[in-house]
Structure formats: C-alpha cells, structure tokens
C-alpha cells in the first residue's frame, strides 16, 4: 500500500464524516530509521486538500491564507488506527463509537 492511496479517501463512520487529509506516524525513539508506525489519520469534514498544517499548530501567518485554510479544514480531527475498521479503495470505514481526537500536533 502507498500513502497516496489513503490520502483523499472518503471516511465513513457509518455516515460520511470527511476526507483523509493526512496520516500521522509515531517514532518511538528520537533516532530515525527506526520503524515509523501509523498512529492515525487526520480527517477533514469539508475539504480533501492538504491543510498545510495550519489546523495542527499555532501558526497564524500570513493571516489571509491561515484564515482560508482554517475555514476549509474547520472541524478536522484525528482517528486512531485502532478505530479504523476497514481500508478500501479510496474509502475508509471507522468502527462504531470511534473517538475523535484533536488533530493538533503534540
């Protein structure tokens, strides 16, 4: 599987909840080259495009772009891998009662 198969996929849980705009990986050690495990997917309810990270950090500049991107990606959330029930072609199904986690980067 390649990551672009996942990015832009429609997410259902069971109703349509958004699009996959990013995938978050976790390195358990600071040294890279170690396995980077998929932690979850970032889901945007309104837009399929990249959010450029604006909704995941405190960046506010340049303000017109920040305002536009934040508006398009309002309500974005992270879904952990454990809450993913099925990965299909351009479609992801979430488990019943999945948890919406803040998409802010730690």
């Amino acid at each position: 599987m390649i990551i672009t198969d996942l990015l832009g996929a429609r997410v259902f849980g069971p109703d349509f909840v958004g699009f996959v705009t990013d995938a978050r990986f976790r390195l358990y050690t600071s040294s890279t080259g170690r396995p980077a495990r998929l932690y979850g997917i970032v889901v945007s309810p309104h837009a399929r495009s990249s959010s450029l990270g604006y909704e995941r950090s405190d960046v506010r500049s340049p303000w017109p772009i920040a305002a536009l991107v934040r508006s398009r990606h309002r309500g974005s959330f992270l879904v952990r891998w454990e809450d993913i029930e099925r990965v299909d072609v351009r479609r992801v199904n979430l488990r019943p009662g999945f948890t919406r986690v803040s998409s802010q980067l730690p």
Binding site: P35, R37, R100
Partner: protein, 145 residues
C-alpha cells in the same frame, strides 16, 4: 473531542506535513531525490480489520515521475518508482538525510548513465578540470588588485 496525545518521548510525523515532497540528501549532503510517496507495510484491504491489528509501518520512501498522475489522477507503474528503504533514513528535518551515498542507490542512475555514456565520451570528459598553474593564479591575483 479528546485531546491530542502528549507523549513527549515520541516523535510525530505527519505524512503531508513532514515527509512528502521533501528533498532527500545522501550521506555527503548531495540532493538525490524528492519524496513523492511512502510505501507502507501490508494492510488488509477490502476486508474488516480484526481488533488488535498492528498498525502499518513506513517501509520505504518512493520517488518517481508523479507530476502527471498528480494532475490527471491515477498512479505511476510500480516499476517507475524508486524505493529507498526507510531503514536508510538517518534524519528527518527540513530535508530527509540518508545514511548512504547516492551513488549506491538507483536514485541517481540517470545521472550516472549520462556521465558514463555521454559526458564521458566527450574530449576531456573523463577527468577533473585542470587546475590553474600557481604562476597563473598569482598573476591573476596581482592583476585583480
């Protein structure tokens, strides 16, 4: 909505934000590729994932001709994508650094082919540029001043 995880012992990488389209440098700092895609370990597709299924890991960085497929959709053939195993990545920052020299990978085969078959056949194409003689250098310095 639940708060974001706060495990500061881990490093977090968002694919779009930190990996895709990043420049890849080899161990000597020479640009060798751009990350066009990421290869993940096998994921069961088209079937329900059993509870407790381990998450996939990044197995390789992929580079190749993706401009057309990004504009018109689809994906390039697997044979056109060059794999750089994730285990060779030494650092992820503004750029992605590899622990090996680019000449040992397939990433730079086109440059090597052009060097060996075209540049190398031109007169003077098989040795370094000749250094200026010391006297010439001194003369030019005096001339500059």
């Amino acid at each position: 909505m639940t708060n974001a995880p706060t495990d500061h012992g881990s490093r977090w990488l968002d694919a779009q934000l930190h990996l895709l389209d990043r420049q890849v440098l080899d161990a000597a700092g020479v640009p060798v590729a751009v990350v066009d895609d990421l290869e993940l370990s096998d994921v069961l597709t088209g079937e329900d994932l059993p509870v407790g299924t381990p998450p996939p890991v990044i197995t390789a960085l992929l580079s190749g001709p993706v401009l057309g497929t990004r504009i018109f959709g689809g994906r390039p053939p697997q044979s056109r994508l060059h794999r750089t195993p994730w285990a060779l990545v030494s650092e992820v920052g503004v750029v992605i650094s590899l622990a090996i020299r680019g000449e040992t990978t397939d990433l730079t085969w086109t440059e090597r082919w052009v060097r060996d078959h075209i540049i190398g056949r031109l007169p003077g194409g098989r040795h370094d540029p000749e250094r200026k003689k010391r006297g010439d250098s001194a003369t030019s310095k005096r001339g500059d001043s």
